[in-house]
């Protein structure tokens, strides 16, 4: 019986992240449209888009190989697993032993690898540009991400997300400068990884400096639906990581009762809502960067994360 309950809680987490991902995307689009004094699409438009794409014919290029056809499913699967592992409403779920921060970074790296391969597979110049830029951003953002992982791991003494969230939600860690710097760096990395505005524009196919949309330009039908769903999931994944690492209060601990789980879900959704409103506000207040300035932008995230690790050495000693 206990096993069934555990399985149910874990399954609920897995379903929850997929179910709300398009809604989160819808909220960011709506807020952004309102900020630009447009009315914007309805909140549920991303669901309708996915539904429409699922029922359309998938057009393949003549020279597309199996890489091109399987990549969308690989990307979606890797992103979903990663998103389902991040503790959202409760810690200590059945599979939380595998929810390691480094594993999540590796899963996202796998998804990115598949996407870059798919971008180059058909052999169009545009996909190649997108892939090469994506890899440039990744080579800058991943070291920063790993340093953030180190920061968190040094503070918490573990890289296992569930244990980290449990520790941080008790408040015994206090306000740490290193964690503040880590959050600062993480926000930069999240913007870069999710193809958001100073780095990439998620709303257009028509810009020469775009990255993510350039890679998926050739996709259609159910393949495109998978990729769109995966990018929405990735956004939710990064939001969940922010919530889990930096604002964990409200999360249900291991062995909690029904009220705690309900509170956990409500607070998780509320935090996601806040982040989904803040993101477009940040996006509309800055201009898109030139490609040659990306290293500076992501490099400052790296600098902040490195600073956080340095500072931990001051307080802990070598």
């Amino acid at each position: 019986m206990a096993l069934i309950v555990d399985l149910f809680l874990q399954a609920m987490q897995m379903v929850l992240v997929v179910a709300i991902a398009p809604a989160v995307l819808g909220i960011t689009r709506k807020v952004k449209a309102r900020l630009l004094r447009r009315i914007g699409p309805p909140l549920l438009q991303p669901y309708l888009d996915l539904w429409k794409l699922m029922h359309k014919e998938a057009v393949l290029a003549h020279n597309a190989s199996w890489v091109y056809r399987t990549a969308p499913y690989t990307i979606f699967a890797a992103t979903w697993v990663a998103a389902a592992l991040v503790p959202s409403y409760a810690t200590g779920l059945l599979f939380s032993w595998s929810a390691d921060l480094i594993a999540i970074v590796a899963l996202l790296g796998t998804a990115r690898f598949a996407l870059a391969l798919a971008g180059m597979d058909v052999g169009t110049a545009f996909g190649g540009i997108g892939s090469s830029r994506e890899m440039m951003i990744a080579s800058l953002a991943e070291p920063a991400m790993i340093l953030i992982v180190f920061t968190v791991a040094l503070v918490a003494g573990t890289t296992q997300l569930s244990a980290v969230a449990t520790l941080f939600s008790t408040g015994s860690v206090g306000l740490r400068v290193s964690l503040g710097l880590g959050l600062f760096a993480f926000l930069f990395v999240a913007v870069a990884e999710n193809a958001r505005i100073p780095i990439d524009n998620p709303a257009t196919h028509l810009e020469l400096t775009m990255v993510h949309e350039a890679m998926v330009l050739e996709y259609s039908g159910r393949h495109l639906a998978m990729i769109e769903a995966a990018s929405a999931l990735k956004l939710v994944l990064y939001f969940s990581l922010i919530v889990c690492l930096f604002v964990p209060p409200g999360i249900a601990g291991p062995g909690a009762g029904l009220p705690e789980y309900a509170l956990g879900i409500v607070s998780y959704l509320a935090k996601l809502l806040v982040l989904a409103v803040l993101l477009p506000i940040g996006e509309t207040s800055v201009a898109k960067m030139r490609v040659f300035r990306y290293p500076l932008f992501v490099g400052s995230a790296f600098a902040a994360a490195a600073l956080a690790v340095f500072l931990l050495f001051v307080s802990k000693g070598f």
């Binding site: 306000l175 400068v177 503040g180 600073l307 001051v314």
Partner: protein
């Protein structure tokens, strides 16, 4: 509870360090001045918090001086100078922005290493000293890497922010010292202002590399 008090102090000191990096990173003159003002405001918050933590009311005066003079008066006049010189749209050449940031990181590591052997004090004091030293070194770095006289002045002022941070983080700095430091910085600021305007009159630019031609040891001096 006392842990939280210290944590907030560290967060403020840490954000001063981040703002120092932002100063290094910015290449628009008006943005540099705005970031500097933000740093001074953070400094005054930090000093005011120290007044609360250390129960030292005279630090409130220090905070007020920092807020009014460095948070508002100096940035206001700098903006006016920049507008008067008509360089507020200029994008300054930073000498290799990426390498500057890396050097900055190295300086932070250096200041941490320097503070490490200071024993017999709590880790909080040690961290505070490391932050302050890093802010000072980053101010120096900014003075070295910039070619524009106005941003060099900003680098100098941010260095002074680091000095105040160091002095208030350690227990008990007499108000006389603070007032005299603030006063000397103001004098230095006026001297810099005169210097900038004279330079502008003479060479039609505030790029200090124009002064290189007048070095005595140059063979190709005119």
């Amino acid at each position: 509870m006392s842990k939280l008090l210290f944590d907030v102090a560290h967060l403020l000191a840490g954000s001063m360090l981040v703002l120092s990096f932002a100063l290094l990173y910015q290449d628009r003159i008006t943005a540099v001045i705005n970031v500097f003002a933000l740093q001074a405001i953070t400094l005054s918050l930090s000093v005011a918090w120290q007044a609360l933590v250390q129960d030292a009311p005279h630090l409130i005066v220090t905070a007020a001086i920092a807020l009014v003079v460095k948070g508002f008066v100096v940035p206001y006049f700098l903006q006016r100078i920049v507008r008067a010189l008509n360089i507020h749209r200029q994008i300054e050449q930073v000498i290799g922005s990426g390498s500057t940031m890396l050097t900055g990181l190295g300086l932070v590591a250096l200041s941490i290493l320097l503070v490490q052997p200071v024993g017999e004090v709590s880790i909080y004091v040690r961290e505070d000293l490391a932050f302050a030293l890093a802010v000072i070194l980053l101010g120096l770095l900014m003075m070295i890497t910039r070619r524009n006289a106005v941003t060099q002045v900003v680098g100098f002022m941010s260095l002074e922010n680091g000095l105040v941070l160091a002095a208030t983080g350690a227990k008990g700095m007499p108000l006389v010292v603070e007032v005299s430091v603030a006063f000397s910085v103001l004098i230095a600021f006026i001297v810099f202002g005169v210097f900038v305007f004279r330079m502008r009159e003479r060479f039609d630019t505030v790029d200090v590399s124009a002064l290189d031609r007048f070095r005595g040891d140059r063979k190709d001096a005119p």
